[in-house]
Structure formats: C-alpha cells, structure tokens
Symmetry: C2
Subunit: 201 residues, 2 copies
C-alpha cells in the first residue's frame, strides 16, 4: 500500500508541483502475467483524469486484449473522462490502409507503428501512451532501443508512456522511472489447463 | 505473449470445455506495483464477457483506486458488458450503515467484509470477484487463511476470485491456480518523487 511518502527529497531544484507533472516512463517486463493488464489498468486512471489515451498494440493477434479494448472504447465514448484511441498492428494500423499493411512484413509494420508514435509524441497527441508488447520489436533488433530512449528523453510536455513486454532492453529500463518485473510463480497452463474466456482474453 | 497451448494435458477426466469453465483463483502478490491494477484490468475482461463483477476493497484509504473505481462504475452502468458492484471498507461497506461501520475497528470491518464475501460466494452473487488488499487481514491474523482456502475450495459454480496484496499466505498460494509476484525493480518514489495524479491514483 503506497503511502505517497518519498524516501528522500531530491536536490533537483524542482517544486513538488513541477515534480508531480514530470512525464513518467514505465516499463512492465518479466515472464509473469499482468504486464499488459496492469498497463491497461493504469490507462483507467489516465482516462479518469480526463487525459487523452493512445494505445499502440505491437502484436499480431488481437484476441488476448479484446476485453480491455472494448472496455477502453466504451470509456472513451462515455462522455466522462478522457478520450481513447486504440491502434493495433496486424488488423491494420488505423492511420494506414489495411491493404497496405497486409503487404508489410511484421518488421515493417512494427517500424511503421513506431514512426507514428514518434509523430504523436512530437505533436503531443496524447497525454498517456500504452506501447503494448513494444519490447519485442526492440528485442528482435527491428527497432533500436537507443533511438527509443533518445525520443523518450526529448519528448515535449508531460506525456506519460508505459511500455510492456518481456526482455525489456537495459537501455530502456535505465531511463525508465518505474520498472516492474512480473514473475510467474504458478500458472494454470502449467497444469495443462487451457486459456479461459474472461480470464485470458 | 501467451499462446494458449498447454504444456501437457491433465489426466483429470474433464473435457476441454469443462476445464475452460473451472473457477480460477488468482493471487497477485509481491512488493512491486501493479497487483491491484492488474486485477482491475482482469475485471475489464470479465465485464466484457457480460459477467457480474464484485469488487471488495479491504483498505481504508480509497484515494489510490478512484480511477479504477470510476471507470468500472461507468462500464457497469454503460448497458454493455456485465454489472459492477464496488464495495469498500472505511468509507462504509455498502450493505451496512456507515455509522455502524464507523464504530468498528479495522479488524471488525475486515471480518465483516469477509463474511459478506462468504455470503456472496454461497449465493453465487458474482461471476468475478476482486478481493483487493485481502492478504493484509490474513497476514495480520484477523482472518484465518485456512478458512479462506476452505471457502474458496468449496465455492459453488464457476466463480473466479482474484486476491491482491503483499504477504500472500502460503496456504492460499498453494491452492491458487495463478500466482504472480510483482517485483519492484525501480520506483520514482525512491528518487524522492511524489505520487502523481493519473499515475498513482
């Protein structure tokens, strides 16, 4: 239970108010469950603040996130809280023609997603970003972690970014403000049980 | 990225369909962030399935969960998906008079919450339960983990239960189907930064 009491006060010349609006970079990594789920849970708070939320799903299969996607769409359209845009690879990034994306390799599609994230960060399109499974294109060498770090460091305004996925590159976790590792202690699939509707997606 | 492929097939005489509707007990524990947040993220999926969701918040201060609470209330009232009931200790369990709860100690209030969970499980009131921070009253010796385990084992129907909080008792993690430990790798409060609106609550 966080109590909101910092363990020390930094000598950074900032006021508490300035520190409270500093942009946060968060990384959810590790082999356990809950990396994306916790990111979407954070998006609920952002929505509740009236912030614009942009989700970029760097994963081909959308099946596993359909519950969160529907929920955030309903919230974004509710007239309360902030707006929600949900962009996903594989079923077609929203800003390019589906037919164009179908001719792309996964690597090209992932790079195209990152290009759009860069454009949105430069334009301050959203206040809160979920870059879901974004560690994988970095891990696979498709997107340079050093470039990601440089873009995040230079982003204007107070835009918060949460990145999820296993194998978070060290360059990224070094600059992140908040890094949580989810460890798998026990999982029903280990006991031969299959994924369940409502639980896994 | 879970692929839904079990590592082995159990010799339990159940069909895949039967296995898919087995009630899940999940525990999110450990010192890291995201235990509750991931549980509320799971609640989005449950809501999306049209399931009735019951949240029991075993914590006095409600500040930290207000974003999730508002979001789930809006979803529950949206006419899409399932219903959501959000019960919280401290600001008054919904089924007892606020004045009555104010005369209770924290221990009495936690026990009263658990009694209601038992009644709801027996009556199959909800399909999906979040028992948020419920490990603490067990850890503090207020509620017997063995009784919790016995009640969970005997619960009727297909009711899923997610329990969050540090110090999950071993009796509980032993019977849980899904246990995830959240490890704190890095947290902005360590660097003297205070909790931020939209990020922490």
């Amino acid at each position: 239970m966080p109590k909101g009491v910092p363990e020390s006060v930094p000598d950074d010349g900032l006021t508490t108010r300035q520190r409270r609006t500093q942009p946060i970079t968060a990384v959810h990594t590790g082999p356990g469950k809950g990396k994306s789920t916790a990111a979407f849970g954070m998006a609920l708070r952002a929505w509740n603040q009236g912030w614009s939320v942009g989700v970029f799903q760097f994963v081909k299969s959308a099946k596993w996130k359909v519950g969160e996607e529907n929920a955030l769409r309903v919230l974004g359209a509710s007239g309360e809280g902030g707006t929600v845009d949900w962009h996903k690879m594989g079923s077609g990034w929203s800003w390019i023609q589906r037919s164009a994306e179908q001719e792309m390799t996964s690597e090209e599609a992932a790079k195209e997603g990152w290009e759009q994230v860069k454009r949105d960060l430069a334009a301050e399109t959203y206040r809160f970003y979920v870059l879901d499974e974004f560690t994988y294109p970095m891990h696979w060498g498709w997107i340079d972690p050093d470039e990601v770090v440089a873009v995040l460091k230079d982003r204007p305004g107070s835009q918060h970014v949460v990145i999820t996925g296993r194998y978070a590159p060290e360059a990224l976790t070094e600059v992140a403000d908040l890094v949580t590792e989810m460890t798998k202690v026990k999982h029903p699939m280990d006991a031969g049980r299959k994924g369940q509707r409502g639980i896994e997606w």
